[in-house]
Symmetry: C2
Subunit: 299 residues, 2 copies
């Protein structure tokens, strides 16, 4: 992809992010107890690239579905992602004071409300999908829920975060462990986004499997580049504290193989991911551009 | 109910608790990452009355359903309940060092793993129900999931816990606020247990509504008696730290209206709950006995 296509994608992602944010703004009106709703809105509406929702809508579209049917799930994905970030940032975990350019949730609302806000967003996401998804058969909706529930649990996000915090400060860490952490902490939800979009769009098993392979590969590439940026980008670019990984002796690709080799591997994964979409022809343009963008982004 | 019926119910509840515990033991084999599975099993298999699962199975039975179809949901309810206890016991929340007669989860595994174990059990519960529920139509299973997801979120458990921790140490608290906390922190999951059992059993809307009223009333009575016991029972009887409520200036019925009036109100709620089951005749024996038991229990 050349510079022009890159620019187009950036504009597209920015406009999609604005659309998703407007939907999220409507999705979580302030209710009682006020504090927890304000806390949910604080973390949910404070920026973010909205990559997972964008992938879900694009995935539904590429398989021939109506992306508007996937909008509640796209919003739910962002709520689940935000819930995991709130818990990850807690002092008992990654202990990060900044997120998306603002103080982390627990710095504003306290640790107790932060734990409860994560819990609240978790169930709010699934209930939002249940209440707002239209014209999707019950069997298919069950599968969407199952996919999301699986990817946030021990087989996904939680599993990745457990292994991650267990390896902080430990010098001996191998690449398979780092791959496990990346595949679970990041890959799982990228996969959930793409797979749920395909399920809602009515894709065949074969197509869902191919889309899932695409997602898993770009998910790991995304996290490798995240680690590279953590060591090279500024706090303003990242919206969170840079150099955290090194200070916490985090298990990262750059720490094990260096920045150049990390970037090469991310590129390799992205190229392999793009091949999974060969059969879609022109319909794949957007998902191909997103894959490329993962390697070239600066924040 | 006389002494003999009470004794029979106790024996019944003990045998049901053993059955549920055996099911839970099978339901969560140790997987990878080991720590989080051991932590889940530690909290899940360390005793507990298993009241919510017992109510779910009894509710399915009373409406004419096959209780075995409700067993995965019964187990899931206990997982969700345990997840909420792990988060509630955290230092950032109720800060309780003991639960079910043993050190709380975070005292053994640390705060970070405790947060993640709650998150893990949350999704494990729903996935366990999805994977193991047999012969229940998709529409009905979706409704079971929706009920559970709703009752653990801002409209249920989380909402109650938020208001609870916000009122700790505050002298001015009114009875409606205490009712809100009890109805949400405790009533919601008792309601979820009874309602999901009825849904799985194929109950009509009218029956589900009546069962829900029964559940909401015994749920509040249960929490009022819990507060009374907190001030009068020993640590050995409770399995958790007694007198915690008073020390934390917790919003409780005894603090506002005294122990005698609290006990009278609990009795009134239980009697009213039992009336909701009038039309079931003899089939209601078990649920009537459970309602009575709530007021007469010593731990």
């Amino acid at each position: 992809m050349g510079t022009v296509a890159e620019f187009d994608l950036s504009a597209y992602l920015i406009s999609k992010a604005a659309l998703i944010t407007a939907e999220l703004e409507q999705a979580v009106p302030v209710g009682y107890p006020t504090t927890v709703f304000e806390s949910m809105r604080y973390s949910l509406l404070s920026g973010g690239k909205r990559l997972r929702p964008a992938l879900c809508l694009a995935s539904c579209d590429i398989v021939g579905g109506d992306p508007s049917a996937a909008m509640p799930t796209a919003c739910g994905l962002e709520m689940l992602h935000t819930a995991s970030l709130i818990h990850d940032d807690l002092p008992a975990m990654d202990n990060d004071d900044y997120r998306r350019g603002k103080p982390s949730n627990h710095k504003v609302f306290g640790d107790g409300i932060a734990v409860l806000t994560g819990d609240a967003l978790w169930s709010y996401a699934l209930e939002f999908i249940l209440l707002n998804t239209r014209q999707v058969p019950a069997e298919r909706l069950l599968r969407v829920l199952h996919t999301l529930i699986n990817r946030v649990g021990v087989d996904g996000l939680v599993g990745g975060q457990v292994v991650d915090i267990q390896h902080e400060g430990i010098e001996e860490i191998d690449l398979p462990t780092v791959d496990y952490i990346h595949a679970h902490k990041t890959g799982s939800m990228i996969d959930a986004a793409v797979v749920t979009g395909a399920i809602i769009g009515g894709a065949s098993e074969d197509v869902i499997a191919r889309m899932s392979r695409y997602a898993r590969k770009i998910g790991i590439a995304f996290q490798i580049i995240d680690d590279v940026l953590d060591g090279t980008a500024s706090q303003q670019q990242l919206g969170k504290t840079p150099n955290k990984d090194e200070r916490a002796h985090k298990a990262t690709y750059p720490r094990l193989v260096g920045i150049a080799e990390s970037t090469r591997r991310a590129r390799e994964l992205v190229d392999s991911a793009k091949k999974e979409l060969d059969s879609f022809g022109d319909r794949a343009t957007l998902l191909l551009a997103i894959a490329d963008h993962i390697c070239t982004r600066k924040s």
